[in-house]
Subunit: 405 residues, 2 copies
């Protein structure tokens, strides 16, 4: 039985802290640290952008080399991307200093960063803050870490799922940041997930990849991917025996863990879309009856990334012409005379032509809601996919035209 | 020697008319007819959207069957898309009635339409207007036809190129409509080109395809393709002997014709971007030093379709972080430490890192201009590509949120 909580709380075996070291103006928190008491198994999923921050490189390299991980440090306000050769050096110096303070090898520390591109990290400020960052670590510190990783976010995004395995209580707690630039492969998006489960690295990698595919890779705000996106999961093993193994992929234990991890990721992804820059509405695009899962997903993304559909939803206009047009542009097999479209429960299009009996009054009511469901039936097969996005508003333009490089 | 004129004027061998038949409100012109005095060779390029208007289907089918074409009729204000089986029947009835009035076989008449989706054509209004539409045909009517094909366009878009071949003057005149939804494969975009050249169907097809690839397929306003996009070229043959033949693909005559056709299409494409919905700036994205022409084009489109780049340009912010991010997302080979970016003549990024000596004052001046050139050097090869787009403004959101389905 899963128990879903909106707030991260404490995760046994983990301590965390979040503080301001002077990267962001006005003393806002900009440095976060998460530490596992025991050597943790770890997995990560990273941006597909060809331009990657040195933080991502260091983390990927450490994940590949080290068998276990002890800490994740996050810098927010500076992405440390496109900073030339010194970017990588800055990461290494910070991780080494932190390793010394924590008494752990530097290759067991992962790093993430987010914020402005092309400006070197204020290394000395970060180095200077390390002793205090470590001193402030506490079991209740995960929420402060979640606050510290925010940039243009209006909300602090955390989630927690609990379930029991035998006699033990397994806890998975996650935090995320992201609002603009969100797209599959997780643009300007960071998420850190902690669990007291004992799980193989290999099993954890599989579970995390599946969870990210069903959550962070299903959301889009404006279609761009960033240089820094990372989802990292640490399993501290505090709830050991039996250890969840890769070979038990279909085992009850693996399934229960996977389900809980999926749920944490889904909640966080949904919170990111709800916090989309300038968003006034949450849009679910569901494509059904596709020949393949891939086609369903592609069609759903084509609709969810269409500026014309997104502005129409902002204007509360049930413009199915733009929706069917976006479906036609998806590059997937299509029989135009079989396409059905409905807005929530109200049918708009049947067999590719408008439904004459649609009530404009009911439709207006549906379009006024905060949460809009666009359902598209291709009637070609049995596969389906859901993608989440938000509308495109005046505020999106304002926020992104005013944000200075 | 090419002579380029901004206005279409008259093209020998062609008559045209444009009038209002009551599809659009307020008596705006909504019906256009272009007729060739002689049987014309013809070629067309059409939308890649899987949902296609019956007008497109009728035109494609007539182009495939008939050896020559005599007329093009255009309905504006109603796209006749997603109207069920009656959509095709409406087209056939209109084309038949028009054929009778003109005294030509219906399969020698092409049709295009643009406007609202999902509403049946007001067939009787169109049929009723046919006699007057034909009566009003005149050599000077091409400009009236160009006015009649507009929908949300703020400008009437025409172009004319003249050159001499032997002792004969060849004239190519074109008209286009389109502002929102513009993307490669020509979303909600129509163009009709008339020439007095004598040219093989096969040669005309090759020349038109090349011209469209270098013009209409290089522009993007918001990334959506429509159900109705068509570019149609009629060659009336009035300037016969020697006939330009497909076998003479590399001949002087074919090259001269191709160059002139390219120029007409480029002028029309540029006018469409300048008229982009809510556009305040014209943006050229030029990618140089790519390994292949395809990679150059892909990278340029990734930048030109990025909402983050487009809003930054609207805000006059030289945000190269968003540009390099979009390049990294293009899915093409990239060496991050080789990427150069400049804004007009001002270098911003060299070898993947910011150029320290960039003058903020000069940069501000460049960003204030109406026409912005973003140059990206990949330094991996010798191929390049240019793509044209416009910024993303408050007015884009307003126009598209208020436009009712």
């Amino acid at each position: 039985m899963q128990r879903v909580l909106k707030s991260i709380g404490a995760v046994p075996g983990f301590r965390a802290s979040g503080m301001a070291c002077g990267i962001k103006p006005e003393g806002r928190k900009d440095l976060a640290l998460i530490v596992s008491e025991n050597p943790a198994t770890a997995a990560g999923v990273f941006t597909k952008n060809k331009i990657q921050s040195p933080s991502v490189k260091v983390t990927r390299s450490n994940l590949a080399k080290a068998r276990t991980v002890r800490a994740v440090v996050v810098v927010s306000g500076n992405a440390n991307a496109c900073t030339g050769p010194r970017g990588l050096e800055d990461c290494r110096v910070i991780v080494r200093r932190l390793g010394k303070e924590l008494g752990v090898p530097p290759q067991e520390i992962l790093m993430a960063s987010t914020g402005i591109i092309g400006v070197p990290l204020p290394r000395e400020k970060i180095i200077g803050a390390v002793p205090q960052l470590v001193r402030r670590l506490s079991g209740g510190g995960l929420m402060r870490a979640a606050q510290a990783i925010r940039t243009t976010d209006l909300t602090t995004k955390t989630a927690r799922v609990e379930y029991t395995q035998g006699k033990r209580k397994i806890i998975i707690g996650g935090m995320a940041k992201g609002s603009g630039m969100i797209h599959p492969n997780m643009a300007t998006m960071l998420a850190f997930i902690q669990t007291n489960a004992a799980i193989d690295s290999a099993a954890l990698r599989i579970a995390l990849k599946q969870a990210v595919d069903g959550s962070f890779n299903r959301i889009t705000v404006d279609g761009d991917c960033s240089t820094n996106d990372s989802v990292i999961c640490l399993a501290g093993g505090g709830a050991a025996s039996p250890r969840i193994a890769c070979t038990g992929k279909s085992s009850k234990e693996f399934r229960a863990f996977g389900d809980a991890l999926n749920e944490v990721c889904r909640i966080l992804a949904r919170k990111i879309v709800e916090d989309g820059e300038g968003a006034t509405k949450f849009i679910t695009v569901r494509v059904e009856g596709a020949k393949s899962a891939r086609a369903a997903r592609q069609a759903a993304f084509s609709v969810a990334t269409s500026n014309l559909v997104k502005t129409a939803v902002f204007g509360e206009d049930p413009n199915w012409g733009r929706i069917i047009c976006a479906v036609g542009n998806a590059g997937v097999s299509l029989r135009p005379d079989r396409v059905d479209i409905s807005m929530g429960a109200i049918p708009l299009v049947r067999n590719g032509a408008p439904v004459p009996e649609t009530s404009p009054k009911q439709l207006k009511k549906v379009m006024r809601k905060k949460s809009i469901l666009i359902r598209i039936g291709l009637n070609l097969g049995r596969e389906q996919a859901e993608v989440y996005t938000c509308d495109l508003s005046y505020d999106y333009v304002r926020i992104n035209a005013e944000y200075s490089s």
